[in-house]
């Protein structure tokens, strides 16, 4: 696995600013990810396949799909983010980059924030971009699709941020995948409820600004709190190995 050195990683020079370091971590994560394009594609394929299961497994009728569409897409997006979380720290943990990151003079929670944002750009954002196509395939109306994309745009970063806590906690454990899902799914429920609730309200013609604002509040809360918990969990997991 090719590893791009983080700026300031090997030099004892402490003068590298926090923002510079965050940017470096962010860019590095994107670069290393694009060198393994298949890993980027997999969660998206999973997303599409899970959505396909519902018309086949439950009912292909337009009335059902129209009603359940937002829920199906949200659950599928949630699951594919969950699936991709394992990659968030795993490679860096295996090759020792993570330990270097923890040793940086910059506050760890900000570097973790940069990593979580990179994870969102790599998984959440493509899911949002793919949503209109799938929305049309499940016969959702134009307005609902727009609102669905908006909720996913606000909601998927929350999923990445909360997920980073679980990924950090389960780092280096044997059955990390299943455990990660067990820990994180209960914490995802509020986001799911508000995400689908907003789309349902939009489909009924009700105003959605309030719900979107609430989701924005979730995002702010996750942005401010999750990196701290995730950084604490990372330190614990690293002291364990």
């Amino acid at each position: 696995m090719a590893t791009e050195p983080v700026i300031g990683l090997r030099s004892p020079d402490l003068s590298v600013g926090t923002v510079t370091a965050m940017k470096a971590v962010f860019v590095r994560d994107l670069k290393t990810a694009f060198r393994q394009p298949q890993d980027l594609l997999n969660p998206l394929l999973f997303f599409v396949m899970v959505v396909t299961l519902f018309p086949l497994g439950v009912s292909p009728e337009v009335s059902f799909l129209q009603q359940a569409g937002s829920g199906i897409l949200w659950v599928a997006a949630l699951l594919s983010v969950l699936l991709s979380l394992d990659h968030l720290y795993r490679h860096d943990f295996d090759d020792g980059t993570l330990e270097q990151l923890v040793l940086q003079p910059q506050p760890l929670f900000l570097l973790v924030l940069a990593k979580s944002l990179a994870h969102w750009v790599l998984t959440g954002l493509p899911l949002v971009l793919l949503t209109p196509v799938l929305g049309i395939m499940v016969h959702m109306e134009g307005n609902s699709v727009v609102v669905l994309c908006l909720t996913l745009l606000i909601g998927t970063p929350v999923l990445s941020l909360i997920g980073s806590i679980g990924a950090a906690l389960t780092l280096g454990l044997r059955s990390a995948g299943v455990l990660l899902s067990l820990l994180i799914i209960p914490l995802y429920i509020p986001v799911l409820i508000f995400g689908t609730g907003t789309v349902t309200a939009a489909a009924e013609g009700a105003p959605v600004e309030a719900q979107l604002a609430l989701m924005g509040a979730f995002l702010v809360l996750a942005l401010t709190l999750a990196p701290f918990a995730s950084a604490a969990a990372l330190r614990i997991s690293l002291s364990n190995s």
Binding site: L169, L182, P186, L187, A229, S237, N240
Partner: protein
Amino acid sequence: MWQIFHKLGSPKWFFGIASKLMPWLLWVGAAMLVAGIVWGLGFAPKDYLQGNSYRIIFIHVPAAFLAQSVYIMMAVAGLVTLVWRMKLADVFVRAVAPVGAILTFLALFTGAVWGKPTWGTWWIWDARLTSMLILLFLYFGVMALGAAISDEKSSARAVAVLVLVGVVNIPIIKYSVEWWNTLHQPATFKLTEKPSMPAEMWVPLLLSVLGLYLIFGWLACLRMQTEILVREGRTRWVKELVQARGN
């Protein structure tokens, strides 16, 4: 103050205190619980609307009450683990997590049994039921993570982080599901308000709630003692203790 705090950190000291406290917790708790339940199930007046089926609250409410407060106690203990690295706090979290899970299950189960004659269905995706179900999932998560990490220290801290993240989320979950859908009546019993039911109903309810708290205290002490014996098995005082007890 600090001395007590330091003593609290010592498993040996706790073991002794717990042994002295446990008979009190058990017998007073059992007496109150039995009194509350017998009074509630046998002698309290019928509800004018629900008839006898309401009597399940004498089990349902204490279990639900405790299921939630156990999680809060765990969160406090988790904070103590992270801040002061106190071993006993983690012992507490480990000891009570399964108890909390069972109480949550009991609350859900008795709720379902009551829901059948009253609402006409075993289960409904109502706010209160759903958030209790999620609480159950959180308990399971805590137990699963604790079991997965073999190193005692990092396991303790990882579990503490998870419990704290969960406690931040509990109000959010609660309000999100409440906003989403609700059927369950508001809390039957609030400490701050005068109860809306006659004394013959709420006195036995209060008795059984307090009784269950004491029984929980006894159970927590017992399970913590067991956990301490397992963890401190190599220390001299544990060996002496085991020998003193005969086999």
